[in-house]
């Protein structure tokens, strides 16, 4: 008789994804039933051990609320008062720095690879490598949407500039703007300092959360499958949405 592996035993214990055959098997197999009991006992012991970490100063919810409100106000205030003529050059600079980081990462024997993988003089068994950084090309960028979601940050967007979002099959997202736009890609997001002309964004129809920001303001979100546009919608159909950021 083939017994269930440890992963399936735990999935049974935790009501995870297991097929009906595994449930039937554990009802009939004393070895696997004992393994399931042992797994439950281990869960109790692990939970007990983890609770030992819960000491520390009391959590002051009211003070934290006030701190979060202050941070939110400060962030919104920063957006309301950009330095004239500075935001565009800063956007380009930020995009360039990120892009340059990606380019350095791509070089063989790059010190950035060591730093990103956490083995720069440290114990590599403790720190795992982050997802690889993808380097954008001057013509646009395409990447796989991370399971945790994707944020696309557009800067230097003009109020009447059209942003065209197209729903696509598969798991690859893409952003294409005018030819002299600047792109930067990290493990969880894309930054684009856009030039004049339409911005075309292809987004997979999957469940992953998606956020598009323009000039620091969220203009589109997809959370739990619900798409919300906070720009001025030009057209909308099952294939996608065209909108502008408007005057904000």
């Amino acid at each position: 008789m083939t017994h269930l592996d440890e992963g399936t035993i735990l999935a049974l214990r935790d009501r995870g994804l297991v097929d009906a055959d595994a449930r039937e098997h554990v009802d009939e197999c004393a070895t696997c039933a004992a393994a399931l009991t042992a797994a439950q006992e281990r869960a109790d012991a692990v939970a007990f051990a983890l609770r030992s970490l819960d000491g520390g100063p009391p959590i002051d919810v009211d003070a934290a609320k006030a701190a979060v409100r202050r941070r939110l106000d400060a962030r919104r205030e920063e957006r309301r008062t950009p330095a004239p003529g500075l935001s565009r050059s800063l956007g380009r600079a930020a995009a360039l720095v990120l892009l340059a980081s990606g380019a350095v990462y791509a070089m063989p024997n790059s010190p950035l690879r060591g730093w990103l993988s956490g083995d720069a003089g440290t114990d590599a068994a403790v720190v795992e490598s982050p997802p690889p950084v993808e380097v954008a090309s001057p013509e646009g960028v395409e990447l796989t949407v991370p399971a945790g979601g994707l944020t696309i940050r557009l800067t230097s967007v003009q109020p009447d500039q059209r942003i065209e979002v197209v729903w696509v099959e598969g798991d690859r997202a893409s952003v294409v703007a005018a030819s002299d736009s600047y792109y930067a890609v990290s493990s969880s997001g894309v930054g684009v300092d856009v030039r004049e002309g339409d911005v075309r964004i292809g987004l997979p129809t999957g469940p992953e959360p998606i956020i598009i920001e323009a000039n620091g303001r969220m203009v589109l979100s997809r959370v739990d499958g619900a798409v919300r546009v906070q720009g001025e919608v030009v057209s909308r159909d099952p294939n996608g949405i065209v909108f502008t950021v408007g005057q904000g």
């Binding site: 440890e6 999935a11 030992s52 979060v68 403790v126 969880s188």
Partner: protein, 162 residues
């Protein structure tokens, strides 16, 4: 859900999770607050469970970015020694301190992803929610969790041999 309701429902649990993940109460509060700032700043909406998963996922990524280099974590632990709990006898305080140090050391021995998986599971998240947060397939979660639990228990739970 409004600001107050969302905050009161999820902030304490998120701070506890971040404390377990970082071992640093100050950093835990900072990461938890930054997660809430992003939630409200981006106008994220959803069910209470959906918002909770979003907050924990965001906090997990913030912690991962903050402690990308192992030496940062080691230094933090040295700067944040275990403090005695008020009201404990010296013996109980010592015992509690040893339990906590053992659990912390066992967590530190895990790979980053294994630590996140273990702590999210013991914060009550489903395999699917954890898989979405750490970027793995939900179908492999049982195997990954089994490995993380076994390594943690072996290092931390008396009498546990895997």
């Amino acid at each position: 859900m409004d600001f107050d309701t969302t905050f009161e429902a999820h902030y304490p649990g998120l701070v506890r999770y971040c404390r377990r993940l970082t071992g640093d109460p100050d950093a835990a509060e900072d990461v938890a607050q930054e997660s809430f700032v992003r939630l409200f700043d981006h106008g994220i909406e959803g069910t209470s469970d959906g918002l909770r998963a979003w907050l924990f996922t965001t906090a997990t990524h913030l912690v991962r970015d903050r402690y990308r280099v192992d030496t940062n974590r080691r230094r933090l632990l040295e700067e944040n020694p275990v403090e005695p709990t008020p009201g404990d006898t010296p013996e109980r305080s010592l015992e509690r301190s040893e339990d906590r140090a053992r659990a912390r050391a066992a967590l530190e021995r895990l790979a980053t992803r294994d630590r996140e998986i273990l702590l999210m599971r013991y914060s009550g998240f489903s395999y699917k929610e954890i898989a979405d947060a750490v970027g793995v397939a939900a179908t492999s979660m049982g195997t990954l969790l089994a490995r993380a639990e076994a390594r943690f228990a072996e290092a931390c739970v008396p009498g546990e041999r895997v």
